[in-house]
Amino acid sequence: MHSGAIVARVIRLAGGDFGLAEEAVQDAFSAALVQWPLEGVPAQPRAWLARTARNKAIDRLRRQARFEVKLGDDAPDLAADSGEAYAEDANAIDDQLRLIFTCCHPALNLEAQVALTLRTLCGLTTDEIARAFLVEPVTMAQRLVRAKTKIKVAAIPYIVPGREELDERLEAVLAVVYLVFNEGYAATTGDTLLRGELCGEAIRLGRLIERLMPDRPEPLALVALMLLHDSRSAARFDLEGDVVLLEDQDRSRWNHAQIAEALPRLESALRAGVASSFAIQAAIAALHARARTAAETDWQQIALLYEELLRRSATPVVALNHAAALGMAEGPARGLELLDQLASDAAMQSYHLYFAARADLLRRAGRFHEAQASYAQALTLVRNEPERRYLAKRLAEMVATLEAERS
């Protein structure tokens, strides 16, 4: 049973005190483990847990002699509870929205936002979160404590933001969700199971936000994007754990059910007039997903979409992807032209993907000698193992090709 909705409610009842609420919920779960086997599972288990947590919170406050703290009144809410409907009633929805927006409050730094979201909404343990972000458990524990303390001491309000702020705040929430997804999606952390779990949690969070805010199109675009990326997960790595490029992936191993879920969402988002960065990225992913073979990919459209994306976020990765797409649509020479324009950027000169992209286009153009040099340059800059192995493989290919040409 997922505790996110219960935690959200108890935090409200505990006057926004995350620490108190968390302890109270744990107490309630412990009580359930003892009582339910003896008395049977209650007809409305979630309501029972929330009510019990509230009482446990009162107990804790009494023990700490904090009589001045007034807990939220639960009585009106209990009347509305009815088993499974609990999660979907207006109060539960509001509570979960409060929790999401508070976890992602701009007064907390981004790392804290991510950690708090995973801990309170997704129910990941501190250890799991620590492993996901490659920090010591004790560091992650401190990060969480600091965040909860700040919420309490600085009085970060436990509310859904007002209309004027909502657009900006929703954008920030979706950014956190996408960050979690990327952490799972990127091939940098070693733990495959944990990676998959993070992607799953991010998608689950995205779907939750969709359900809680049904009149907003922005979550649709993000969920579509995540579903599309994730749909390729079975095909992304070979048996040795090496990266398989999109163009080489076995498309029969793509999760077509997930793709089918994603496409209507993307359509809805675009129809609502939202051409957000997520929507454009999703549109690009959709073009790949719709191509039955790599050869049928509509590279012209993809290149146009990357141009659109560049207008919104001119980051090195987007620029490189644009050049690569243009290279596929109009020939490698065109792509190389674009990369040459980027060459003067200091950030590019120390970016392994710049040289990898260059090498790839040179390879496609048959300029193997230059490609070899570029792959070599990329290898001096790459920092993660899967990508390093890929580049080394390409370099070896170039060496072999040049050998063959000479003989």
Binding site: A107, V153, A154, A155, I156, P157, I159
Partner: protein, 118 residues
């Protein structure tokens, strides 16, 4: 809840600006003060003399050490403060955002520790 709003801005920039520009900022501060007094959020507020007039005091090994200037050299300097009453951080931040210092410098919003009542 009480918060202190520390107003940081560059004195070097202040010195570069014309008297009219600086006076316009002062008038904005005065207007802000009037507004939050009227709304009941004002508790205290003062403008500080420039950092060249500051003295930093440290006592080490029983000796009083006095040095000329602020406790640290920074790009922006503390120029003033407000103590305000607000329901929560969002309210305090909304007030801070209205200050001219927020546009040209930085405002640090810090909650004031609640001491247990005797």
């Amino acid at each position: 809840m009480q918060y202190i709003l520390f107003i940081y801005s560059s004195e070097a920039e202040y010195n570069k600006r014309s008297a009219e520009e600086n006076n316009a900022f002062s008038r904005e501060y005065m207007q802000f003060t009037k507004e939050i007094q009227a709304s009941g959020n004002f508790r205290a507020g003062d403008r500080l003399e420039p950092v060249t007039t500051a003295t930093t005091v440290r006592v080490r090994d029983g000796k009083i050490l006095k040095s000329d200037g602020p406790f640290a050299e920074t790009r922006e300097q503390l120029g003033g403060y407000y103590i305000v009453e607000a329901e929560n951080l969002d309210q305090a931040v909304a007030m801070a955002a209205k200050l001219p210092g927020a546009r040209i410098g930085s405002i640090e919003v810090r909650p004031i520790m609640k001491m247990p009542t005797a």
